[in-house]
Amino acid sequence: MIKIELLHKKFGKNQVLTGLDLHIQKGGIFAILGPNGSGKTTLIKTILGMVVPNTGNISVLGEPIKNKWKYRQEIEYLPQIANFPGNLKVKELIRMIKDLRQKSSEEEKLIQLFALEPYLDKKLATLSGGTKQKVNIVLTFMFDSPLIILDEPTTGLDPLALIRLKELIQVEKEKGKTILVTSHIMQFVEEVADEIVYLLEGKIYFKGSIQELMTKTKQTDFEHAIAAIATPTIYD
């Protein structure tokens, strides 16, 4: 599905990714974790082609992505901060994205699921952070693509919307899709993720299931296991 080899990325003097290798097979939910500034968002953005790597190869669905753009048709991306053009109405934004993608979509179901009907005629600038995030989720899930990338999907969501989101993720997973997700809410990760990819100092520090992580770190609790992984002395 995704194959990354020896990925290096520098922003000015700040080396963010240092020879990262990652292979993600088809199907399942992969949580990309790591401390702040470990390069999670940069990694996601290089997969999307929004950040151009200094060196290294990335293939998505078996094709190298360098200087390509059509492969993004197969990816749904939920950005970390839902920044939308403020003077557009929710309805117009959805219509616009549909027009740009030229793909069949099922937005009505999702609008209903997140109770967004009253907001359809409102301008995006007037929406609250949580409502914007819901719009963001609708835009991400309304198409049927094999790869879904979610950057901090839980930000600002109320408990009901959070439950709906988790259900939605499970439904997509059962369709055999590959889902990449980053989050700082460990409870959420523990609930949804099949596999953990832990980034530290621009490299993959750990890749495996939650069970493997707990055995490795000798912790019984997932949150503590994640905290322990960054300080190797605890279990070495």
């Binding site: 753009w69 993004r72 920044n83 939308f84 053009p85 994205i97 740009l100």
Partner: protein, 260 residues
């Protein structure tokens, strides 16, 4: 690209500022024509305004639009769209709507006044063409500046400085050097210097078309000899096209290599 252009264009067409810009030209056109009662004089006055104002508005609108639509751009970057299409679409959306405001705003009063019956129609068309070029050029330059500067304040500052340089300071340096080197033959120098600044180039083109080059003295005669011929006109147009094409090319080149 056409889709992005369409959305940017609609977005701007709904913004208050496009209408203010349009209304400004509309009022200016009516006032000049009906107070002046002379199309040729109105064209000269308009030229003086257009040559300064169009680049300024193009610069400011370009920078503002780029920074304001950052979110929109980021949204588009994750969609299956070619990068250069996103930026070129936005650029042509801005430049197109500004040009439309200019052409319609000035065109309507002139047509109502009976432009088609007067012989000033060519002078007036040239005025609109150079106005359109200046919009394209300065919007492209400002998009370039904005793309290379993450910091809004800096980007805005550089863009305004660029306008100030080309609209005012350049002429100052040009005149100074003419005075300092007056002992030498300056025909080629002044021709080249004029060619290298789109504002000067537009001004010279219009002045010569209006046949008031006598005001310019000896240099005017040289200019007349050069610009008055077809070759001169073609070269000037080529220069204006180059002034548009190079920044547009750099815009798409830079956009393909930038991180978001």
């Amino acid at each position: 690209m056409i889709k992005i252009l369409k959305y940017s264009f609609y977005d701007l067409m709904r913004s208050r500022w496009s209408y203010i810009y349009f209304l400004f030209y509309l009022i200016l056109g009516f006032v000049l024509l009906f107070l002046n009662n002379d199309v040729s004089k109105a064209v000269i006055t308009l030229m003086n305004i257009i040559i300064i104002l169009v680049p300024l508005i193009g610069t400011i609108f370009g920078v503002m639009y780029y920074y304001n639509s950052k979110e929109f751009t980021e949204l588009l970057l994750a969609q299956p769209i070619k990068r250069s299409s996103i930026f070129l679409g936005q650029y042509f959306g801005v430049a197109g709507s500004l040009t439309l405001s200019l052409v319609l705003g000035l065109g309507i009063p002139f047509v109502l006044y009976g432009l088609f019956k007067s012989d000033a129609i060519f002078d007036f068309s040239l005025l609109l063409v150079t106005g359109a070029f200046l919009t394209l050029i300065f919007t492209a330059l400002s998009f370039n500046i904005a793309l290379s500067n993450e910091n809004k304040i800096k980007g805005f500052g550089y863009a305004v400085l660029l306008w100030l340089f080309l609209a005012v300071i350049y002429d100052g340096i040009f005149l100074m050097s003419l005075i300092i080197f007056k002992e030498y033959p300056l025909d080629t120098f002044s021709l080249t210097a004029t060619m290298l600044n789109p504002i000067d180039l537009s001004r010279t083109l219009i002045l010569l078309k209006l046949d008031i080059s006598a005001l310019l003295g000896y240099t005017g005669a040289v200019f007349k000899q050069f610009f008055g011929t077809n070759t001169g006109l073609v070269i000037s147009m080529v220069m204006l096209v180059l002034w548009t094409a190079i920044p547009v090319w750099r815009l798409s080149y830079k956009a393909n290599r930038k991180d978001f």
